[in-house]
């Protein structure tokens, strides 16, 4: 079984442990053994060290990467922020001077950064290492006929030249689309596909501006595709879609019911037949109806003799 270092970050294990559970359920089924990176710290998140000191950022990120290096595995994360932070740090560490300085810091805790572990986002890993065909072969409930709107999230798109795997055109991303279509679902294009969801620093500092952007995007999704659900591979985008649709609805700024939102591996886990109470239990928007639909009997894929 292929081993991969699972870097959890903070949002997924603390706010959405069901997303973490979905990773842990689907990966072994798909032939991947996630290894825990014991002692991993904050990535460090945007707004912390990356905002004031590049070398500190690189030192903390490199320490996290060395945990995987010691195990001889690459790193996979489900959080776009962690992915962006670790990938960009690795890019900065290609500079010999930076690497030297960081290794001087790491020597205090008897660690050395080598640069041998690559950084993957779980969506990229599923797409390029596991493959769409392998995913298709594990689908228990076909999501044929369901319509999904995808939200990739910015930190796996830009800056594309520092990522191990980059979209061919970050303005028209296709990785998540391919993954969603592997479940049998339909994934129509909408015009604000690459637009910002308003999460991150903007949400903390200017919620009105954040909601304005979010609303534009949401309306584009609703009017242009009217999907059964929104599927994302970014935990921050997930929170924005799950929290803010209700706010807009309450304020009367949208005239439709909030669209159920899932992290992609939750959708996949449900399609693979895992228990929703373990893999898709926590959300503000009520998802019970769509989950029941996804796992309804008539969707069962008939075993091919």
């Amino acid at each position: 079984m292929e081993q991969i270092g699972l870097y959890l970050g903070c949002n997924i294990p603390l706010k959405h442990p069901d997303i973490e559970q979905s990773f842990r359920k689907i990966l072994p089924e798909l032939g991947v053994e996630p290894l825990d990176l014991e002692g991993a710290s904050c990535c460090p998140a945007w707004g912390t060290a990356p905002s004031f000191d590049l070398q500190t950022w690189c030192a903390i990120s490199s320490r996290n990467i060395t945990i995987a290096e010691q195990k001889g595995v690459d790193i996979m994360t489900g959080c776009n922020s962690c992915f962006g932070i670790l990938s960009e740090a690795k890019h900065f560490l290609e500079d010999k001077e930076m690497k030297k300085k960081v290794n001087e810091s790491l020597s205090a805790i008897n660690r050395t950064y080598q640069g041998t572990s690559d950084i993957y986002h779980i969506a990229q890993y599923l797409h390029s290492k596991v493959g769409v065909d392998a995913i298709k072969s594990k689908i228990k409930y076909s999501l044929d006929g369901l319509k999904m709107a995808t939200q990739t999230g910015c930190h796996t798109l830009w800056p594309s030249d520092v990522y191990k795997i980059a979209e061919q055109n970050p303005y028209e991303p296709t990785i998540l689309k391919d993954l969603c279509m592997a479940t049998g679902a339909e994934v129509p294009h909408y015009s604000r596909l690459a637009a910002c969801c308003g999460m991150g620093g903007m949400r903390s500092t200017d919620i009105e501006k954040s909601l304005k952007l979010f609303k534009e995007k949401l309306i584009s999704i609703k009017e242009e595709t009217d999907p059964d659900m929104i599927v994302t591979t970014c935990s921050s985008c997930f929170m924005q879609f799950d929290m803010s649709q209700l706010i807009l609805r309450e304020r009367g700024e949208i005239d439709f019911e909030p669209i159920p939102t899932f992290y992609y591996t939750q959708v996949l886990a449900l399609a693979m037949g895992f228990d929703p109470s373990q893999v898709a239990a926590i959300s503000q928007i009520d998802r019970s109806k769509i989950i029941a639909e996804m796992q309804s009997e008539q969707r069962l894929v008939k075993e091919v003799a």
């Binding site: 055109n169 303005y171 028209e172 294009h189 015009s191 604000r192 690459a194 637009a195 242009e224």
Partner: protein
């Protein structure tokens, strides 16, 4: 013992503003063999040069060192002064204390002064060992070649031909005309491009002094100013051009299809085709990449025979040709033929291409309604795919809102930092033409800023504002594809400090101008250099805009940098004027700073022969033993052989071993 005169130049404040010129002069006075040292505000001025001449005439000096600016521009001036004073002009050496000291060490006057002294002392060291050299002359072939049959090449060829020089005009496409032939109308007077270009094409093609070689590319260039030997590959057209009348019957019948390059891929052409209706020469070619070999008629095959009639079964193109110009039974060489010509000077006018929209990922390149400005040019041209009607590529409907985006790939460090220079004007031209024809159109133009410097250009722009065309200052961040093949434009309006969004039916990208395909290979064949922006480097950005580092090789048009038609024509006429100089003189000087073999020292090892980039070295028998010989007319004085010779048998005049060693000694003292 040599009597060296050292002349230190202030160059106004260029040198004097940083370096203590008097200190350098005093120092020079104390160097070995220096007879006198002087300083002057501008050594290159008449009075400065007079100082040198007078000292030579007075017998005070017999070697001259000028410590000033760059030999690239000023060596010929001072050599001339030496010559006029009565001294062999190669007894002169230049110390570049401007580029190498004052300019690069402007923050450190003391250090710059110390370095200037070293540079001067090195030049003096070399000057002590200089020897007089004699220039030689060779005869010139009275003919010129112009590469590229666009407006620049046609203009240059016509000028040369009118001066009475035989001129070969080489064009890679089946017709001359170039980019200008693709344009609808031209700014700032809106005259029809074809109407002013076609007569020139015809005149060039029919001029008795011009031999036009279309569908041809330069394969190899050998030789030097006055005597270039050029191999030209005439590509295989699969049509006998001597017989072809340009009727187009073959194209009508041909079922093979390929994107029409002349229409920038907006329509399809046939495998057998005539480039465009006004093509000169109007001759058909068959594009074998698109040919489907109808009736199994691969080139060189015998036709099948119709069992009933007994007649051979021919391909539609052969059958259709009333002039019998197509015969697929002939075993034609797919590589075409090689024609060898000899010329005295060469003008390169290879033009440009524009970046494709696929480079701009944020600009919805997958949408058929995002096009380049050159594509729009075809879309509004009467000879274009829509017959001049403005129709969206996606559904051939008339658009209502149009968006122009400037500086796509220009002035952008992700692509090219340079300004493509004529986009602002052609965008305004296109907008004006469209607004005149379709007053209801909403035209929004987005610029970083509008650059309309040029005679009558700004008036053309302000006129466009009066016509109701909308101008926005600020960049377009991206385009989103909407239902119905529309596009959402996301832009920033700097004047109102706000983002703007609107729906557009057709978006036109003014994409950056780049060197044409194949120019790197051409540069290698000819020894042309590129500048930082990847255009051909001229000899001097101000004073040698048409010359290159290779004497006898000249530039015209966009291959030297983006420029519009008026500038291209001006430069082409300038290039023709300088290219004609050696032809008119009938002889050219051979620079004596070239390599020579000391036959007695040569061991005949032959190491130098393959190293010479100019093929100037041959091994010849001397008393039965092989010895290297250098052809003075081919040697460029690069010094590769000199440094590689294990027996030190090759000397490079002007860079002799003792001269170089003294320079090194001075610099390391």
């Amino acid at each position: 013992m040599a009597k060296i005169g050292v002349y230190v130049c202030h160059c106004g404040s260029n040198i004097g503003g940083v370096i203590d010129v008097s200190d350098v002069r005093e120092y020079a006075e104390g160097l070995p063999d220096v007879a006198l040292a002087r300083q002057d505000l501008f050594m290159c001025s008449d009075s400065g040069q007079e100082l040198i001449k007078q000292d030579i005439r007075d017998g005070k000096v017999d070697r001259v060192v000028v410590a000033a600016c760059t030999p690239r521009t000023h060596e010929p001036i001072f050599r001339g002064a030496c010559e006029k004073g009565g001294l062999n002009k190669f007894l002169f050496e230049m110390a570049n204390i401007r580029d190498q000291a004052s300019w690069v060490h402007g923050q450190d006057p003391e250090g710059a002064t110390a370095k200037a002294k070293k540079v001067v002392s090195s030049a003096v060291g070399k000057a002590r060992n200089l020897e007089p050299l004699e220039e030689k002359y060779v005869d010139v072939t009275d003919a010129a070649m112009v590469i590229g049959g666009g407006i620049g090449g046609i203009t240059a060829a016509l000028e040369l031909a009118r001066m009475g020089h035989k001129t070969y005009l080489v064009e890679k496409d089946p017709s001359i005309g170039g980019r200008m032939a693709q344009l609808d109308k031209t700014f700032p007077t809106n005259d029809c491009s074809a109407c002013i270009l076609t007569p020139m094409m015809v005149e060039a093609y029919s001029h008795p002094n011009i031999e036009t070689l279309c569908y041809s590319e330069v394969e190899d260039v050998e030789g030097y100013i006055g005597n270039f030997k050029v191999k030209i590959r005439q590509k295989q057209s699969y049509v006998n051009w001597d017989k072809c009348t340009g009727c187009g019957a073959c194209a009508e019948k041909c079922p093979g299809k390929a994107p029409d390059e002349f229409n920038e891929g907006l329509s399809m052409r046939r495998a057998a085709f005539i480039m465009f209706p006004q093509a000169v020469p109007k001759k058909a070619v068959i594009d074998m990449n698109a040919c489907i070999n109808c009736a199994g008629r691969t080139i060189g095959s015998e036709p099948k025979v119709n069992a009933k009639t007994g007649n051979p079964i021919l391909a539609p193109c052969e059958k259709a040709c009333p002039a019998e110009a197509i015969n697929r039974s002939l075993m034609l060489d797919p590589n075409g033929t090689i024609k060898e010509i000899e010329v005295g000077s060469i003008i390169t006018a290879t033009g440009y291409k524009v970046m494709g929209k696929e480079n701009f990922k944020e600009m919805a390149p997958d949408s058929p309604n995002v096009i380049t400005a050159l594509q729009l040019e075809r879309l509004i041209s009467a000879t274009g795919p829509t017959g001049g009607k403005l129709l969206r590529p996606s559904d051939h409907e008339k658009p209502h809102t149009l968006t122009f985006v400037s500086c796509m790939g220009s002035r952008d460090k992700n692509f090219h930092t340079y300004c493509s220079r004529f986009c602002c004007m052609y965008m305004i031209k296109q907008a004006r033409l469209l607004k005149e024809k379709y007053p209801d159109l909403v035209i929004n133009m987005h610029f970083i800023d509008i650059r309309t410097a040029g005679k009558d250009y700004d008036e053309y722009y302000t006129g466009a504002r009066d016509m109701g065309i909308n101008f926005f200052k600020g960049k377009v961040g991206g385009l989103d594809m909407l239902a119905g093949d529309k596009l959402r434009v996301n832009a920033y309006d700097m004047e109102n400090g706000e983002t703007i969004e609107y729906e557009s039916d057709l978006v036109i990208l003014a994409s950056a101008v780049e060197m044409s395909d194949g120019t790197t290979e051409l540069a290698q064949k000819m020894g042309l250099q590129f500048c930082g922006s990847k255009f051909f480097r001229e000899l001097h950005p101000k004073l040698g805009p048409v010359e290159t580092a290779v004497s006898g090789l000249f530039l015209a048009g966009c291959c030297q940098g983006p420029k519009d038609i008026p500038d291209t024509v001006s430069q082409a006429k300038g290039a023709a004027a300088v290219a004609a100089v050696p032809l008119a003189q009938g002889k050219v000087k051979i620079d004596p700073t070239i390599s020579e073999v000391v036959t007695e020292k040569c061991s005949g090892c032959g190491i130098c022969e393959p190293l010479c980039p100019y093929g100037a070295i041959t091994m010849k028998k001397v008393d039965g033993k092989p010895r290297a010989m250098i052809a003075i007319s081919s040697c460029k004085g690069c010094g590769v052989c000199t440094s590689a010779c294990p027996s030190s048998a090759i000397q490079l005049h002007g860079y002799m071993e003792e001269q170089i060693l003294e320079q090194i000694a001075a610099l390391t003292a």
